[in-house]
């Protein structure tokens, strides 16, 4: 894995957004070749989304040839409920960028046949050629998406009942009322995310520190499902200082020492705008950073 440690939340968000930007531009997507991006919801990725919107508004990044697949959605919550993940994605990302609605895929928590909806989602990912980069977060209980402790590490997209920890963590979005929080969700499986060609996990804040410790310094364990990514060939963990509080000093020092190398991954490339105008090589300039 690559463990990227930045000082603060804002810097971690920016690093992650730049990484995604660079990956999309390097991929050089087009009408025959879409960049497939897996996306999370929640408070952790908000800063990253804001930065990506900024890069779009600067003209440095376009989502015209990007297909997005969200990780999860609540069951039984109306699609236009302010706390649904559809609303989250619309308000925090989709409405600000140039993505075409037909290239966005979010599980439908109000489908008549929930498991059929999940199976269809897996098919859609396959039809799109698999996920190029899956971005995710981690729960305080070490879960990825809604793969709660005890979820199979080879699971696929399915219906899950939420753990009490998760319901408690989400209550703040439902006026603090536990009874209003949905108890079930549709989620991609651990196996689904493992199939992606690359995985990036965003982890910020002291309350996630223990989960990060369990995920990368202990063994692969279905009680801490993010640990599965120890067996993925290409994983990046992007954190702030606070999230590393439970790690060994040795681990943190080792990876901080690699930041010089890792920061090259987010150096400005040539923007999509410049590539399209096909000017002579020497007149290309890097985009604003």
């Amino acid at each position: 894995m690559k463990l990227i440690i930045l000082d603060h939340y804002s810097q971690a968000s920016e690093w992650a957004a730049k990484y995604i930007r660079n990956r999309i531009i390097q991929f050089n997507p087009g009408p025959e070749k879409y960049f497939t991006l897996g996306l999370p919801t929640g408070s952790t990725p908000l800063g990253c989304y804001k930065k990506l919107i900024e890069y779009y508004k600067n003209g440095d990044l376009s989502f015209k040839y990007v297909k997005t697949f969200n990780m999860d959605e609540y069951v039984g919550l109306p699609r236009d409920h302010p706390e649904s993940y559809h609303s989250f994605m619309w308000n925090n990302f989709f409405k600000h960028i140039d993505i075409h609605p037909e290239n966005t895929y979010i599980l439908d928590g109000n489908a008549v046949d929930l498991q059929a909806e999940c199976d269809a989602f897996e098919e859609k990912i396959k039809a799109a050629g698999g996920i190029e980069l899956f971005v995710g977060g981690i729960g305080p209980d070490g879960h990825i998406a809604f793969n709660e402790p005890g979820s199979s590490l080879v699971s696929r997209t399915r219906v899950k009942t939420l753990a009490m920890d998760t319901i408690l963590a989400n209550a703040r979005f439902f006026d603090g009322e536990l009874t209003k929080v949905p108890t079930m969700a549709l989620t991609v499986g651990v196996g689904t995310v493992m199939d992606a060609r690359e995985v990036m996990i965003l982890i910020t804040g002291a309350h996630k520190a223990f989960a990060l410790y369990k995920a990368i310094e202990e063994g692969v364990n279905h009680m801490w499902t993010v640990s599965a990514f120890q067996q993925h060939p290409r994983t990046v963990f992007v954190c702030d200082e606070d999230a590393t509080l439970e790690l060994k000093v040795k681990t943190v020092k080792y990876f901080k020492g690699l930041m010089l190398v890792h920061n090259k991954l987010v150096d400005p490339l040539y923007s999509i705008k410049e590539k399209e105008t096909e000017k002579s090589q020497s007149s290309k300039k890097p985009y604003s950073d």
Binding site: R79, H86, P101, E102
Partner: protein, 386 residues
């Protein structure tokens, strides 16, 4: 009223780079329009999987619901209370000219007149949708003749009336058929006024209290009978007195029907009301404030003698004033509140999804840069034209 034969195939317009008035706040959001109505873009995105057909950049300006003027006696040389042969073209002229002031709907107002005038004029001013031809007519506002002699203001004494024993029939005989009427201003202290107020209210006509010497008690009783509006607060009524606030006291009365909001018109020209008095009313009851022009035929014309109904009026300069409150409050007082007064708030006076796309583009000094009715550009300032 037209507005929203929204075929799903109709073009989707997206107004970007603007601040829209929604929920009492100015938000940095785009405004989406289709088929003459405000569209919910999230629904369009997830259900229809569509993007906008056309985008218009608003240059960072403010988008507010179109203004609604419920008290306007004429303008540009047109006097609504004159029984001419072609009342319709007079109304049409005013309707077209007020677009440049951001007014998208209005209630042509008739001052106290003899019955012949009502019988001739009222049928010639039907309710009409707005469009490129002009602002929409929501219905007539009949101010008088059932008002107080003492507080008649500029209304001619000779044509004042009171209710006889058969009060409502009296009113019908005076006005003629009420199909085109939306608001009636009367003085509640007149005998038999309560049955009249009740009759008008059951017919969906808004009853307003004005040109009256009623005390607070009489005013409250009128509200219980159905009155919902006060015509130009402070003017042509007893002054506020701390032992009997009169009609003004309705703003803070605790003896009104539960949940009922009393609206009050204010002429915010700095002359009819001292701005400090306007602010007192606004702070006491901000949700009820309705800005009106009470414009006279001389609006838009120079100084000189002009008619106002049966009277002649001297004009010596025009003043305009913005109420001393927040931008959002002022905008709501000119759009949302008059819509609520007339029970139209689902379709007018708001930029909520599904409402008619009647709106104005304003710069930061609240000067009108462009006016839209049913999503169509109906007026644009010279400087704004490309």
């Amino acid at each position: 009223m037209r507005g929203g034969q929204g075929a799903v195939e109709a073009r989707v317009l997206q107004f970007t780079n603007c601040r829209i008035l929604r929920g009492g706040k100015l938000l940095r959001e785009d405004l989406w329009v289709r088929g003459g109505r405000i569209l919910d873009p999230e629904k369009l995105f997830f259900e229809e999987r569509r993007v906008a057909d056309e985008r218009r950049d608003c240059g960072g300006r403010i988008l507010a619901p179109g203004f609604i003027d419920v008290q306007i006696n004429g303008g540009f040389g047109v006097d609504f209370s004159q029984a001419t042969e072609d009342v319709g073209s007079g109304v049409a002229l005013v309707a077209r000219r007020i677009l440049s002031h951001g007014v998208t709907s209005f209630c042509p107002t008739l001052v106290t007149s003899p019955p012949e005038v009502y019988h001739k004029v009222v049928p010639q001013i039907p309710v009409k949708s707005g469009g490129p031809h002009g602002a929409g007519v929501l219905g007539l506002h009949l101010e008088g003749p059932f008002i107080s002699r003492e507080k008649r203001g500029a209304h001619p004494e000779a044509h004042l009336r009171s209710f006889e024993a058969n009060a409502f029939q009296d009113l019908l005989a005076t006005y003629g058929p009420l199909d085109n009427v939306r608001i009636v201003t009367l003085a509640p202290e007149l005998g038999h006024s309560h049955e009249v107020i009740r009759e008008l209210t059951t017919r969906g006509i808004c009853v307003s209290l004005g040109h009256s010497v009623a005390d607070l008690r009489a005013a409250e009783d009128a509200v219980w009978s159905g009155a919902t509006f006060i015509t130009h607060l402070f003017n042509a009524m007893l002054p506020f007195h701390h032992r009997d606030p009169g009609i003004v006291g309705l703003l803070t009365s605790d003896r009104l029907p539960a949940g009922r909001c009393i609206f009050y018109g204010m002429i915010a020209d700095g002359t009819h009301t001292n701005p400090a008095a306007l602010r007192i009313a606004h702070r006491a009851h901000p949700q009820g404030l309705v800005l009106v022009t009470d414009a006279i035929p001389a609006l838009g014309l120079g100084n000189g003698r002009h008619t106002l109904g049966q009277q002649e009026v001297e004009v010596d300069g025009l003043t305009a004033y913005v109420a001393g409150c927040s931008v959002e409050s002022a905008l709501e007082a000119a759009s949302l509140h008059p819509a609520q007064l007339l029970g139209l708030e689902k379709s007018k006076g708001t930029l909520d999804f599904g409402a008619d796309a009647d709106f104005v583009v304003l710069d930061d000094s609240l000067h009108v840069q462009a006016t839209y009715i049913s999503g169509e550009l109906v007026w644009q300032a010279e400087a704004a034209r490309q």
